[in-house]
């Protein structure tokens, strides 16, 4: 599903991640790692939000850099700590991303109901609690028809009901053929998911855990 070759990411000349070759099969993959190990850097690189050296290819045909538009149409990202312009509303953000990702008609509404965010749709995000912000960010991450969804710490700041909603959505979409890369320090809900593999970010690379 996702092939990574000669991947290297450095900040100010300091190498953070160096992955010679790595393949993710279709399914749900759990990326673990200590704070500062480079998980978010890895996720943002795969999402096409950070430049990197090397190659990231989806489904054998969509290169992150060479087929930038079709690749991004198929890869979605949910930030660990989302930040949006404080004056925009969830409605404005969702409409913006839904249009860009060519979300099917009615999908945004369905996700708004699923995450129960309709009550604050027209309120500026600057007034949101961290949980409300996270739910908005998750709605954005599920918009469109992605083949791969990257969820960086999807459960932090969420209430129990929302946590179960996320797990249920992941299970449903995974059954429909969507792959996931998840990073989480919490394993209570993710353990219920059909995790295909678990990876550890350490020593500037990704290694499968035993």
């Amino acid at each position: 599903m996702l092939a990574i070759r000669q991947f290297q990411k450095a900040y100010h000349g300091r190498v953070i991640l160096n992955i010679p070759a790595l393949d993710f099969a279709p399914g749900i993959h759990w990326i673990q790692g200590r704070n500062g190990s480079g998980k978010t850097t890895f996720f943002k690189s795969v999402a096409g939000m950070l430049p990197f050296d090397g190659q990231i290819r989806l489904d054998g045909q969509f290169d992150c850099n060479r087929q930038a538009v079709p690749y991004r149409m198929r890869v979605n990202y949910g930030e660990a700590e989302p930040t949006f312009p404080a004056f925009l509303t969830a409605d404005e953000l969702i409409q913006w991303v839904a249009t860009a990702k060519k979300a099917p008609k009615g999908q945004a509404d369905e996700l708004i109901e699923t995450f129960a965010i309709r009550d604050f749709m027209k309120t500026p995000v600057g007034t949101y609690s961290s949980g409300m912000l996270k739910k908005t960010s998750l709605v954005l991450a599920f918009l469109g028809q992605p083949r791969l969804i990257l969820l960086d710490e999807p459960l932090i700041t969420l209430d129990v009901a929302a946590t179960q909603t996320v797990a249920r959505l992941i299970r449903t979409l995974s059954a429909a053929g969507v792959s996931f890369l998840l990073s989480s320090h919490q394993d209570f809900s993710l353990a219920e998911l059909p995790i295909a593999s678990v990876w550890q970010v350490a020593g500037q690379t990704l290694m499968p855990t035993v």
Binding site: Y11, V69, L88, A100
Partner: protein, 368 residues
């Protein structure tokens, strides 16, 4: 509590001067090139003898004070850790805030001192008192505002109801995100830049018919307009990095991204465009006026795309802005056709953006 001055300096003072380096550069350039030292002295001598004129000086300084203080208030509202300073005993907290205000106001306090020195030399006592009183008020009154900001996190805005009604009816399209950001988060920068730019254009368009000027005068005006927008362009670059990081994950072709930035710049230039059309000189056709506009637009777009070549702090952009000013000035003086210069600017901006945007990053980021 040694942390107080250090944290306030790093979060407010250093950020203020860094983020507004472009604006200071333009002001210094205008004040140092259009007005020579003798003219500053002559104007100050006239002002200390005319309370109204001195008042105009003070209105200008008051505008700067509002600009600087609003920036500091904005930092306090966005930096939750600063709310801990409420716990610092009031005299120490006030002293810390007073020092912040003093350093933020250094540029105008220095100029006040210069005018005050002229006033003392001219033996104009009332003007000296007016200057001292103004400086003290501009120094002390904003401290109440800063302290209020520290004490009132998540304050309910007075315009909240109006905003709610607006949000119910309208949705902001992406090209207007940045303009809304300027209006809500950087209103003083926005209005100062636009006011300065509009006044400059008005002055030039009124000056044009008074002598044997040609289109180069208008082109020079647009060159200065473009340079005065450098700070705003940096804010656009920073805004999209800090608040719209998801933008890079969206499936939008590079060409459309650049087109949207060109549209945003055209929207920002709307007041100048209206002035050019409204006060179109009789001897210049609309085509020539359009070439003047295109020249300014292409310069701003080029300035913006240069931000993606390598991540720089605002103060590190000064040589780039100065270089563009110099090259623009020379090309105007050598009477190179404005349409050709505009097309060249757009082509260069397109080349730079296409090549560097996908590889660009805000390099101060640290790994997680």
């Amino acid at each position: 509590m040694n942390a107080l001055p250090t944290v306030l300096r790093k979060t407010i003072v250093e950020q203020f001067y860094r983020q507004n380096a472009g604006l200071f550069f333009v002001v210094l350039m205008l004040a140092g090139s259009f007005l020579r030292a003798q003219e500053h002295i002559a104007l100050a001598e006239a002002a200390v003898h005319a309370p109204f004129m001195l008042g105009l000086y003070q209105v200008l300084w008051l505008t700067y004070t509002l600009f600087a203080t609003r920036f500091a208030v904005g930092v306090i509202r966005q930096t939750e850790v600063l709310y801990y300073f409420r716990l610092v005993p009031t005299p120490r907290r006030w002293l810390g805030l007073l020092v912040v205000q003093f350093v933020l106001l250094d540029p105008i306090l220095l100029y006040t001192a210069f005018v005050g020195w002229i006033s003392v030399e001219q033996h104009t006592g009332p003007s000296t008192i007016q200057l001292i009183a103004g400086a003290v008020l501009m120094l002390v009154l904003p401290v109440f505002w800063l302290d209020y900001a520290l004490k009132t996190p998540n304050r309910q805005s007075l315009t909240a109801n109006v905003g709610a009604a607006w949000r119910e009816r309208f949705t902001t399209p992406y090209p207007l995100f940045f303009i809304r950001y300027l209006l809500s988060d950087q209103p003083v920068l926005f209005f100062l830049t636009k006011a300065g730019s509009v006044l400059l254009m008005l002055g030039i368009l009124n000056l044009y018919p008074t002598d044997d000027y040609d289109v180069r005068l208008l082109a020079l005006g647009l060159l200065f307009v473009a340079v005065s927008h450098s700070s705003m362009m940096y804010h656009l670059y920073q805004f999209e990095h800090e608040r719209l990081a998801l933008l890079r994950n969206l499936p939008v072709p590079v060409s459309r991204r650049l087109g949207t930035y060109a549209l945003i710049i055209a929207l920002l230039l709307l007041p100048e465009t209206i002035l050019l059309v409204r006060y179109q000189p009789d001897d210049l056709s609309m085509g020539v006026i359009a070439s003047v506009w295109a020249f300014g637009h292409s310069l701003i777009l080029l300035l913006f795309t240069l931000l993606f070549v390598r991540h720089r702090q605002p103060d590190q952009m000064l040589p780039v802005v100065f270089g563009l000013l110099l090259v623009g000035f020379l090309t105007i003086m050598y009477q190179l056709p404005l349409w050709a210069l505009s097309v060249l600017g757009w082509v260069m901006a397109t080349g730079i953006f296409t090549r560097y945007y996908p590889r660009s990053t805000w390099e101060t980021a640290s790994p997680d």
